[in-house]
Amino acid sequence: MAAYEPIPQRAYFKYLSPSIIVLLLLTVLPVLFTLYLSTSSLSFASPRPERFIGLRNYSRLLDDARFLQSIPVSALFIVAPVALQLVLGFVIAVVMNERLPGMRWLRYVLVAPMVIPPIVTGLTWRVMFTPKLGSVNYFLSLLGLDGPSWLTDANWALTAIVIVAVWGWTPFVALMFLAAMQSFPDELYEAAVIDGATWVQTVRHVTLPLLKPTVTFIGILRTMEALGIFPIIYIVTAGGPAAATETVNFYAYVSGFSYLKVGYASAIIVVFFFMLLLIIGPTMRYLLRNFQVAS
């Protein structure tokens, strides 16, 4: 708390309010408009004017096998990549935190996947998975393994997307964990030395418990972003084979912009929005209870 306050905080209101107003207008209005569209028959493919059709778009969703299939795909593309990113990110952060001589370059290497456009990440891996052109199966053959046909087999296509998501986002997780580890108090590590703990014990019983809140926070951030995965699917598998890698938001895109069924796509978006709220609700409650900003 500031001890003195000759400038009233109210004076700052006009500096903050333009941002808040613009952000709210740009986000709340579209959401409300989506709710409206989801009850309309609007389609860009039909010249007929839109009319109100109540919840018919929603009831159609329940019979749409392609939509129902997209829900577990969305769930898979959240759970698998985020879990792998957290585990691998922790391992890499531990490695980097040891400041091994000759390993500084790793820090710079990690920046690349964070800034490369997702569309380029997708293209790169599309190439890597393409037979002859790419190298995934070539490297597997060096190990004596027979590489699968990645993009035409449903299970391998799902695996491919998970691999790309892990490649693209683990560096961010690792750097966040590393930043947290570097702020841990030295005394705890000195105490571990005095107690005769081995290196592995120190990592497990000192570093890991201290990192737990950061793991939760980053896990939440990654989960929300993983829900919106799009460019990678668009480029690597285009949702295929046979819609096997289509997430809820990808199917919404296809319905709206390939089939031009705006009303129907809006209904999918509304469902997607409620999935998001399921994540945001508990998240906000957790953050409001446990999150502190440095000031």
Partner: protein, 275 residues
């Protein structure tokens, strides 16, 4: 730190090197592919030594659509940063005086807005814009990018600005300066590193954005991430052009990323989480 056994140290090196290679190999692969002629590209086993060619780079820069996309990307990314700064700078100025709960709640709300997947807003903007004649305009995309750029700038700038002592504002007031004058004449020059870093973070976002660009642009304002997908179209996949274009698109952001890598994560690490 406790002493590591030799085996542990060795394992850490192995993990680090393998992971580093796993990141680098795909990027290097695209680089090589961009420099190979079509015959070499499909050689099996892959060629690591070959005569490099710049034909693909020449081809994409001779393509007027690609040159236009490059210009559009520069205009839209720069415009997004400039417009977002107009909102984000005063907002950060206000946030830095907040303490405790007020500051945290403002920052969390702003973070939340950025984290919402763009797909939620895509359809309504498409319908809005088709009725307002904003499809295929620069300003149309720039307005949408405010949703993401303003929060990105505020989050990256707040920790830098938070290090400026608040006493400056008090003494500025005593000298008769208005809050606006304190903001622009006294404090803004002090946080210029933060302005540059946060501007680059927002630029990278706008430069990379794909989903909205795909739907909102048509012909005149197509950006680089969209144009690259067109090389996957009608005449089969033109892998040489695709790789060359990928290199051209990622080069500026990778350079920017190296320059500001220190700041890229400060925005989020500044918020500490209680145990």
């Amino acid at each position: 730190m406790t002493r590591r056994s030799k085996i542990t140290t060795f394992s850490l090196y192995v993990i680090g090197v393998i992971y580093g290679l796993a990141i680098l190999v795909p990027i290097a692969w695209i680089l090589l592919l961009a420099l190979k002629n079509t015959l070499d590209a499909f050689a099996y086993p892959p060629l690591f030594i070959f005569e490099p060619t710049f034909e693909h780079f020449r081809a994409i820069f001779q393509d007027s659509e690609f040159r236009l996309a490059f210009a559009n990307s520069v205009i839209i990314a720069t415009g997004s940063v400039a417009l977002a700064m107009l909102f984000a700078i005063p907002a950060t100025f206000a946030i830095t005086i907040m303490r405790g709960r007020a500051r945290r709640n403002s920052l969390l709300t702003i973070l939340l807005i950025r984290m919402v997947p763009g797909m939620i807003y895509l359809l309504p903007y498409f319908v809005f814009y088709s009725r307002l004649d904003l499809l295929d305009t620069h300003i149309g995309l720039i307005i949408i990018y405010l949703i993401f750029c303003v929060p990105l700038i505020i989050w990256t700038l707040t920790p830098v600005w938070g290090a400026v002592p608040l006493e400056l504002r008090e003494s500025g007031m005593i000298d008769g300066a208005s809050l606006w004058q304190i903001l622009y004449l006294i404090e803004l020059p002090l946080v210029r590193i933060g302005i540059i870093a946060s501007g680059i973070v927002a630029f990278i976002f706008a430069w990379n954005e794909f989903l909205f660009a795909l739907v909102i642009t048509r012909k005149k304002t197509v950006t680089l991430p969209v144009i690259i997908t067109r090389y996957m179209g009608y005449e089969g996949y033109e892998w040489g052009k695709i790789s060359a274009a990928a290199v051209v698109i990622m080069l500026p952001v990778v350079v920017f990323g190296f320059l500001i890598q220190r700041y890229m994560i400060t925005g989020l690490t500044a918020g500490a989480v209680k145990g």
